[in-house]
Amino acid sequence: MTTDVRPLPPTLSTIVRAGAQAAETAPVKIDVRDLNFYYGQKRALDGISMAIHANRVTAFIGPSGCGKSTFLRTLNRMNDIIPGARVEGAVRIDDHDAYGSGVDVVSLRRQVGMVFQKSNPFPKSIFENVAYGLRINNLTRSKAEMAERVEESLRAAAIWDEVKDRLHESALALSGGQQQRLCIARALAIRPDILLMDEPASALDPIATQRIEELVYDLKKAYTIVIVTHNMQQAARVSDYTAFFWLGRLVEYGRTDRIFTAPAEKLTEDYVTGRCG
């Protein structure tokens, strides 16, 4: 891992800095209190508390196995499908308890979308990949409306121009970067409130990565975005807030520029400057 934090690209860094100086006006979207998570007997997350703001990009950084992906997956209850997984504590989304007894997990996941580390398009056509979420949730009333929503989603994910002439070809014929943007389009199609991204660019080349990062920056106008990343430059470039995880604990959480320039914890400083992890 490189030891220095490279200077931010001028446009982005100016915006990030400007945003950071203003007081936070965005409401809290996700409020996590004293969250513990267990895989069987093993405790993977230990007393996590944090407030994630609406229409901001929050990045989770930390070494492999520190629990950042696990934490991300507790936010849309994706961990429910893992046998032996157990959660303690509270996750409140727009002041509703995500783990409450009356919660419909399916409806929760419809509102908290997710993009995975490895792009996972369905072995169907490009169109069908995006239309799937609309179909299963009965979100459109006509074929025309569905086609409209598919186009809108593909445009929002900045992939429309590349695929508009081959919507009915297999999604598996796309390049890695295109597949990942298709997965983002697929997640956007059902209009979630929150978008969780689990290292969405880790398997992509620098150009494709840059496109995803630009996309993240655009999408935060409409969505609350939580992004897990291994890449600290990426966290610095795209996020407003950064949370640093270490061995299942949340070590430090704050505005991205402060985490990278003036961390309060020694461990954070060591990590962001590349002295450990």
């Binding site: 849309n76 994706m78 499908i81 046998p83 399916v106 409806s107 996941r109 419809r110 509102q111 979308g113 997710m114 995975f116 490895k118 996972n120 398009p121 369905f122 072995p123 169907k124 056509s125 799937y132 979420g133 299963i136 949730n137 070809e169 297999s170 999604a171 598996l172 014929a173 997965c183 697929r186 997640a187 059902i190």
Partner: protein, 292 residues
Amino acid sequence: MAVSLGPNASSAGRRRADLVFQAVALVVLAVALGALAVLVATVWRDGAHRLTWQFLTSFPSRRAESAGIYHAIVGSLYVIVLTAVMALPVGVAAATYLEEYGGRSRLARFIELNIANLAAVPSIIYGLLGLGLFVRTMAMGRSVLAGAATLALLALPVVILSTREALRTVPSSIREGSYALGATKWQTIWYQVLPMAVPGILTGLILALSRAIGETAPLITIGALTYIPFAPDSVWSAFTVLPIQIFNWVSRPQAAFKDNAAAGILVLLALLLTMNAIAIVLRDRYQRKGRP
């Protein structure tokens, strides 16, 4: 140390072992294929001259030269199609339950163990079960339906086991992708998991049906006739199938009937190969679906 590409003591020994193993494998393969070739050649020599249009379209007769196999071909086709229609949905549903819903519960493991055992039960036992359950209790009589139901029982364990295998090969990333879009478990299984498992399911079905089409004992047990002068015209008809007709001819003392039996075997082989070919084409089409 310099790179040396020539032979040396240690590599020569290993190469020899490699060659010996290759030779042994080749001999074993040759024996197996040789036996099959001799078998087919013998049957062909005896039966080829009886493979005429008349043979394929005639009913059994006391005179070997005017006897035919039409009724048995139709009977076999009836039985095998009905068997597939019954075994496929039940087998896939059972496997889906065990794999996706049963999880690691005690009950699911108990059922799984028993299914594996069922796959090894001699087919005549299924015949006895079919006789008691379908022919008598459910009053289906000695019909095509009862025969197919019996063979479906026989085919079920293989269909269930291969479907479970196929379901397991569907990557978890696909399931997660579907769940993350707000799909229910059932939607995920129906729209994503099962379609991806189709090639594996079809392979299992081919194997099971190939076994079923060659079965004689369970059908004789439930009372399929060895001599009928008509082809089945409904699922309630009495019937016979190719292996039973072949068995019938083999047991006759006259040599001419032995030739009929050989020709019958050729017909059965052709039917089997056709079935497998259709299934392979179907499987390939599904494997290509969605692939670039």
